[in-house]
């Protein structure tokens, strides 16, 4: 009995350990910083038809990690206008990168996240937000699932109670009725 208990606790400790080790390693790693090393290397390119411009994304000199984090967060809430449902953050398109540049510029000017969101909604409509504003009719999708869960929970409680009332006998495998 004691042996079993000890074994059980051993598992209990082993499992978190397996999960913790890798996540802890990454948790210790510092946030991104930048640096320049080495010399220039040779580069050859031909001329592709459309060139996504490298404009907007900061170089080592202009990088501001906190602001970049805010840009990423806002970009994740906006829908890429030329993609199929991707966020601006996830989209590889040029327009998305330009929108991120606009976001970055506005944050640099001191605009708040709400103001940035309002800017895009004023130009693209509510559609540009990936999470509908919680107001008016939109509240339906926020409250209906909750209501359904609560109602379901109440119903489950009643069902269990009802089952128990008829409880006591274990019903054998129900007899078949002729097809």
């Amino acid at each position: 009995m004691i042996r079993r208990l000890l074994l059980a606790i051993l598992i209990a400790l082993a499992v978190p350990a397996i999960v913790i080790v890798p996540t802890a390693i990454v948790a210790q790693a510092p946030a991104a910083t930048s640096g320049a090393t080495g010399g220039p290397g040779p580069a050859e390119t031909s001329h592709p038809p459309i060139v996504p411009s490298a404009s907007g994304v900061p170089t080592a000199a202009t990088l501001n990690p906190e602001r970049e984090e805010m840009v990423r967060r806002l970009a994740s809430e906006l829908r890429c206008p030329v993609c199929q449902g991707l966020s601006v953050q996830d989209s590889p398109t040029e327009l998305s990168m330009q929108m991120k540049a606009v976001i970055r510029g506005q944050l640099e000017q001191g605009k708040t996240p709400d103001e940035v969101r309002a800017y895009f909604v004023a130009r693209y409509g509510e559609w540009i937000l990936l999470k509908p504003e919680a107001s008016g009719f939109n509240l339906v999708i926020y409250f209906l699932p909750l209501a359904m869960l609560l109602a379901g929970g109440v119903w489950v409680a009643f069902t269990v109670r009802r089952w128990r009332k008829h409880g006591g006998d274990v019903a054998p495998y129900p007899a078949e009725e002729p097809a």
Partner: protein
């Protein structure tokens, strides 16, 4: 057969099927723009080529155009649909030349060299072409893609947004309406 329950279920299904049928009739890619009726975003864009030969200075600012009807067409050399509407735009531009109607083409996500080459290929253009660095103005106008055409009234408000290649009828209809002094109200087509 419990017909009462069947009736209830059937009743409940009517709105569901109705919704799906409604969905079929809508185009999910067509988004109504909130701009019409509102003041047009300010822009200040450089002219990279002026085939009409008019001397409009080196940049165009929206404030300078107060009192005129402005037709702003966003295009790109890689945009196939833009080819169809090009002649229409130039024709209508010429028709209303000097009558308080200004046409501008705004290049979207393309290089001025490509733009000039494309205009030359298409046999010229009756109005200036503006460069929009970083698509700032395009984003300011809530652009989803090209071609899109905005018609701005003399009061500086966006009257109408057209998604896709624009037609002569649409252009003329709106220009006439605005010159006659009708207020900006319509949404996008």
């Amino acid at each position: 057969m419990n017909w009462k329950r069947v009736a209830m279920v059937l009743l409940g299904l009517v709105p569901v099927i109705g919704l799906l049928a409604f969905g079929l009739s809508r185009d999910p890619r067509q988004i109504d723009s909130p701009l019409p009726g509102r003041a047009a975003p300010m822009f200040d864009l450089p002219i990279f080529t002026d085939p009409s030969g008019k001397q409009l200075g080196r940049t165009v600012r929206l404030e300078q155009l107060r009192g005129q009807v402005v037709v702003l067409n966003f295009w790109a050399s890689w945009c196939l649909a833009c080819r169809g509407e090009h002649t229409v735009l130039s024709t209508v531009a010429r028709k209303y030349e000097g009558q308080g109607v200004q046409f501008f083409g705004v290049l979207y996500n393309d290089t001025p060299e490509n733009g000039e080459r494309w205009i030359a290929e298409m046999g010229g253009q009756a109005y200036p072409a503006l460069a929009d660095d970083g698509a700032r103005t395009a984003i300011d106008f809530g652009l989803y893609g090209v071609p899109e055409t905005f018609i701005i009234g003399p009061d500086g408000r966006v009257a109408y947004k057209h998604v896709g290649p624009v037609t002569e009828e649409v252009l003329v209809e709106w220009i006439e309406k605005l010159r006659a002094g009708a207020p900006a109200t319509e949404g996008a087509s």
